[in-house]
Symmetry: C2
């Protein structure tokens, strides 16, 4: 088993990537090889300074001369930089030399290269990014959080199916509750997209619990929440920013008086727990579901811990066999649901 890691992608590359990869390699105990893809001389030099112990054979280097920068236009960059660390990593996946790719690089470029290189799983109209949000009791998945800006109802149904299978296999829950993100509980509420998606979801084999609203996202009302990638992206970034707002509001107040200062000191462990609950580093990265391979997309600002967790997640996804399940279920669905004009695929 080999996992290809884009060592040059991300705000803190390659240092954070290398450290995270080695921490993961230590955990895997030699059963998994991690291929660091990037500037060979630089990576070798950085590795030579690593002081913690790891099995040298569990980390390899694959040469890639170029790097796609965070601000580059994804499609243009992919065309121009055939030797970039991202493209070389994806090629390893496509040729079966690696079973998964992990990248903290330019998100648009990661999505596009995954789509162009490995292609979609049979039956999938549009791949989608799954993200984890904490709730009062456990976690909720939000799908899609940014792969698709404009969606059709059939896409939302497929997101529900992919999200449900992912939840079942990765979080060991036999029958995840799937909700549709909407602006009212009743099936008559919503926009053109969600009104029709509601019908498709309610007629599916999913454990569909109906519409969920904004206040239900963090309440645990559903295990998997389906929405278009535009809405999901705004919600996800908004949620991530809240930790900062809570901290700074409290800090402003705290700075001004001794009572609050002492209170904050005593309460610090509880804050840490709250922060950790909302902290993306704990969840590693967000898988791109629906492609013919395993690809975990990390935050540009990923720390070594986030990279380590993303690599662990990639391994779990490979081992879970969830991609086969998605292919099987969507093939079955495509025979059942006629793809009408309205459901045309648009890539």
């Amino acid at each position: 088993m080999k996992i290809a890691v884009d060592a040059m992608g991300g705000d803190h590359a390659p240092d954070a990537i290398i450290k995270g990869a080695i921490e993961a390699a230590k955990l895997f105990n030699g059963n998994v090889e991690i291929a660091l893809v990037g500037n060979g001389p630089l990576l070798r030099e950085k590795l030579s300074h690593i002081t913690y112990r790891y099995r040298p054979q569990s980390v390899s280097i694959v040469e890639a001369a170029e790097t796609i920068e965070m601000g580059e236009s994804p499609v243009a960059a992919l065309r121009k930089k055939r030797n970039s660390s991202l493209v070389v990593a994806m090629d390893l996946l496509k040729t079966g030399q690696a079973q998964a790719v992990v990248s903290a690089g330019n998100t648009g470029a990661v999505m596009a290269s995954a789509l162009f290189t490995t292609g979609r799983l049979e039956g999938v109209h549009r791949p989608a990014i799954v993200s984890v949000l904490p709730n009062q009791k456990g976690i909720t998945l939000l799908i899609d959080v940014g792969a698709n800006t404009d969606c059709k109802p059939i896409n939302l149904l497929q997101f529900g199916i992919m999200g449900s299978l992912y939840y079942r296999h990765i979080f060991r829950c036999p029958n995840p509750r799937v909700g549709l993100l909407n602006i009212g509980e009743e099936r008559t509420k919503g926009n053109d997209l969600t009104l029709e998606a509601y019908r498709l979801l309610s007629e599916s084999q999913l454990n569909f619990v109906g519409n969920v609203e904004g206040q239900d996202i963090l309440s645990g009302a559903a295990d998997v929440i389906v929405c278009d990638g535009f809405l999901g992206n705004v919600i996800l970034k908004f949620a991530e920013s809240i930790v900062g707002l809570v901290s700074s509001t409290i800090k402003d107040k705290v700075a001004s008086n001794v009572r609050s200062k002492l209170g904050a000191f005593l309460l610090a462990p509880a804050f840490v727990k709250f922060k950790r609950k909302l902290d993306y580093e704990e969840y590693g990265g967000a898988p791109l579901l629906g492609i013919d391979g395993v690809c975990v997309i990390c935050h540009g600002s990923s720390s070594p811990k986030a990279i380590k967790n993303a690599i662990i997640l990639a391994l779990r996804i490979v081992n879970s066999g969830v991609n086969n399940q998605i292919k099987y279920q969507l093939q079955a669905m495509n025979t059942a649901v006629p793809v009408t004009e309205n459901h045309r695929v648009r890539v």
Copy 2:
């Protein structure tokens, strides 16, 4: 000056409404009359139990035999219940007997009755609901938060104009920064709706600061954030639910140990400040902009304080003359921007 208050609308009606109205009346010191619209005998009986002092002539009762319930279908309810407190209040507005309406009733019914009774301001394609969100430095307006589930680019441009004028007149800011809620900073990012709305906004006379993302909603990056009503509604409900999540996460931890308990006690004032910052009660209600009149929509669960603040807000909107400004600017804009097929009005 008279403000019509739907005394029967809301989860805590009529008690919370009556109390809020009287608290506002006390502040107004006889200069404004508040008309409580609803079941006359019930309202008179409730008023007779009010022990605080207020000028009796500042609060009147207008009889309305029926009540629209929270769960009713708005359009059907409006057709059937011509004598409902909401419809009677709107009639007072239409006939010029009142200058504003405040209601905590069925939101869909409030919007529909405002639209059917008073109609739109000249030049307005779609009215929109404005909501206040706190940010690190002050407040940000989000427009629309639920009046329009499916929008055209021209609607978003008009929301920007209405929101900017509202911000300028109500929050005394000469040139509010208007941002478009989107999934990336660059103008090439977004869905079909926002890509075109970006173009319209950037060509307008507004102080358009470009795209803002989810993490910017509470950062103060813009004074007015424009989005379609579906997205705005999900965001608003999500934001409101966060106060609860923060409290309960900390409380869970706190319940389990003495150190945290003491910390929480000492930090209580800071928490109160944080809660208040996100608390909708402080902002009273959300105005429906673009109708030919002033209408403030309150949360169904409004407390007396929320009702009082909503009435104060309604008075400020009337006094600001913002509706005339909206009419004037949108008329000017409609000559400048051709309404093409793509921008067709859809009500």
